[in-house]
């Protein structure tokens, strides 16, 4: 229990530091850096709930992210719905996609690599669909009209976007903390450690995994809503392409899968690494992702618990 208490203290200090950051950041560039950092922590935390705690490695988390972004855009441009109400619909849509994918793949007992491949294939199907359908802007993607104002979830000052994504990330982290202290979370971890044993102990593994994927999908869709409001643009590659799926899994894997703080550390280290490569290798495409790949291999080799393993010591 002291561990739990310690974690809550660390969390409170971290939140306080993050709340204060805009006071010390004046340049637009660095504010954008912190917004993207928290955005990655958010989508990483969403992956972490299913993949880190539940051991269900999704290779297609973009399917939930893209649904959040696209439904937000469709609600506003085609149906004239208010941004906040549209966001609710988009998050619900993400959860439904999660429920569907979870129901079919867990029903047929897909595990490990098979589950990874099927999520990847679902993301590709969605990518092809939105790319072919005029309703979703086909190859041109979807643009949101610029309507600054809190009522439209658009802010002229990046600082307010920062506080919005901070709030969302804290919510997602709250879910992860709840997993660490709840019965449901214990069941989920039991499934990760040994699914057959969990089943033998009477855990309804299908239901637990389904619940985890729905929560995870809803959070990824939330990240999609935020992305849409922040950049006002999405296309099939941004929304459903493999790069968002890879970001979603790299962040917690590098930071520390199955830990509350892992996604923060992952997002921070990837953000810093990306700036370092930009300064040393120039702003050429590919350099930062190449560095991510190398970091992933190093972490897999030496730090099976991610960078968090450095802080935890031996236990």
């Amino acid at each position: 229990m002291t561990n739990m208490k310690r974690q809550t203290q660390v969390m409170l200090v971290l939140i306080l530091a993050l709340v204060l950051i805009p006071l010390f950041v004046s340049s637009k560039f660095w504010m954008g850096f912190w917004v993207m950092l928290l955005f990655h922590a958010l989508i990483g935390q969403s992956w972490n709930i299913l993949g880190g705690y539940g051991g269900q490695t999704s290779y297609g988390h973009a399917v939930f992210f893209g649904t959040g972004a696209y439904v937000t855009a469709v609600m506003q441009t085609h149906f004239g719905v208010n941004a906040w109400a549209g966001a609710g619909v988009a998050i619900a849509a993400g959860a439904v996609v999660g429920l569907f994918i979870g129901a079919v793949s867990f029903r047929y007992g897909l595990r490990g690599s098979y589950f990874a491949l099927v999520t990847l294939a679902f993301a590709e199907v969605f990518r092809v669909l939105v790319n072919a359908w005029d309703f979703t802007g086909s190859g041109f993607g979807m643009l949101l009209a610029l309507k600054p104002g809190a009522a439209h979830m658009q802010f002229a000052d990046r600082q307010w976007f920062y506080y919005l994504v901070l709030l969302l990330t804290i919510m997602a982290t709250g879910v992860a903390m709840w997993l660490e202290s709840s019965r449901f979370g214990a069941h989920l971890v039991a499934i990760r450690e040994n699914e057959d044993a969990a089943k033998a102990l009477g855990i309804n593994t299908f239901r637990v995994k389904l619940k985890a994927i729905v929560i995870s999908a809803a959070l990824a869709a939330t990240a999609g809503v935020f992305y849409m409001q922040y950049f006002l643009f999405v296309d099939s590659h941004i929304g459903y392409g493999p790069s968002m799926s890879i970001s979603a899994l790299l962040v917690p894997l590098i930071g520390g899968p199955g830990t509350v703080l892992g996604p923060f550390i992952g997002a921070l280290s990837l953000g810093v690494l990306s700036e370092i490569t930009k300064h040393t290798m120039g702003d050429s495409p590919g350099a930062n992702l190449m560095a991510y790949g190398v970091l992933l291999l190093i972490v897999l080799r030496f730090l099976p618990n991610g960078l968090m393993g450095l802080f935890r010591g031996r236990s």
């Binding site: 490695t57 793949s105 491949l117 092809v128 190449m290």
Partner: protein, 291 residues
């Protein structure tokens, strides 16, 4: 609905593409069948081999068919080294870890290509591409016909290797029962790396056959890796006959769905088959029922 001539032409074209898919899938299924790992870097290996063919042609004037003597052996060595000195030490033998290691390798390779060679689409022109073979009322470009013939030859060589040589016997022994193979004195680590090398050589052969009628970009492997997985899963993980039949079948499916659904929606046929097979028949059509 469509003229029978068009249907035959589309089907034949699909088969020529499918023959290349079959080659790629053969490599992937060998790696899966022996090591029980899913090589996520397979598409990136194809991409690298395509660049190798491209640069050999552009810088040294080497014909892609002559490159068959250079690129596959080189990729055999690379594949061998990659498994033995990178994937095996990093994967710790855990299924999902290996998937992540190969994902990491594919991220590095794809972005290395992007960094070195930019995202420009490159292709080569060779005189053979202008030659067409008449088959009744259908004409096929010569490289496509060569592709089919070469795929059949490689398939046969592969079959001979697996059934007639000591190496093939050892590979099959390791695939069936790795502990037993170790006990009778087979170096399992070596066989793992040999299988990975042969699998990589297969995909390099596919690259040499593909480049005359295709193109290369750093992302070209993305599309292929899912098709190769689909082929392998459809045919049954680890089944060689399954990989060949699955490859040809998917080539035709892709050609038909392109004809009916149009260019942009056409790719969906393959992915839907993939999902359906994974859900309902994860052991595939020719796979053995075991874990």
């Amino acid at each position: 609905m469509f003229d029978i001539g068009i249907l035959t032409a589309v089907t034949l074209n699909g088969l020529t593409v499918g023959a290349i898919y079959a080659l790629g899938a053969l490599g992937l299924t060998l790696i899966y069948g022996v090591l029980h790992i899913i090589n996520f870097a397979h598409g990136s290996t194809l991409m690298m081999a395509l660049y190798a063919c491209f640069f050999l042609h552009q810088r040294a004037g080497v014909d892609p068919y002559t490159a068959l003597l250079i690129v596959p052996p080189a990729f055999f060595v690379l594949g061998y080294a990659m498994q033995r000195y990178l994937i095996a030490p990093l994967g710790f033998g855990k299924d999902i870890n290996v998937l992540l290691v190969t994902l990491g390798i594919s991220i590095i390779l794809d972005n290395l290509a992007l960094y070195l060679w930019t995202s420009n689409t490159r292709n080569i022109d060779i005189p053979q591409a202008q030659v067409f073979i008449e088959l009744g009322m259908i004409s096929l470009a010569l490289p496509k016909v060569i592709g089919v013939v070469a795929s059949i030859v490689v398939g046969l060589l592969f079959w001979l290797l697996m059934t007639q040589t000591d190496l093939g016997k050892a590979i099959r022994a390791v695939a069936r029962e790795r502990r037993g193979a170790r006990i009778v004195g087979i170096s399992v680590d070596h066989i793992f790396a040999m299988s990975f090398g042969i699998g990589s050589a297969c995909i390099a052969v596919a690259a040499c056959l593909l480049i005359p009628t295709y193109y290369v970009t750093p992302k070209v492997g993305d599309g292929f890796v899912l098709i190769a997985f689909t082929t392998v899963v459809l045919g049954g993980m680890g089944s060689f006959i399954g990989a060949l039949v699955g490859g040809l079948f998917l080539g035709v499916v892709e050609a038909w769905s392109g004809l009916w659904l149009g260019e942009s929606l056409g790719q969906i046929g393959v992915f839907i088959i993939f999902i359906l097979v994974l859900l309902f028949k994860p052991n595939g059509l020719f796979g053995q029922r075991n874990t």
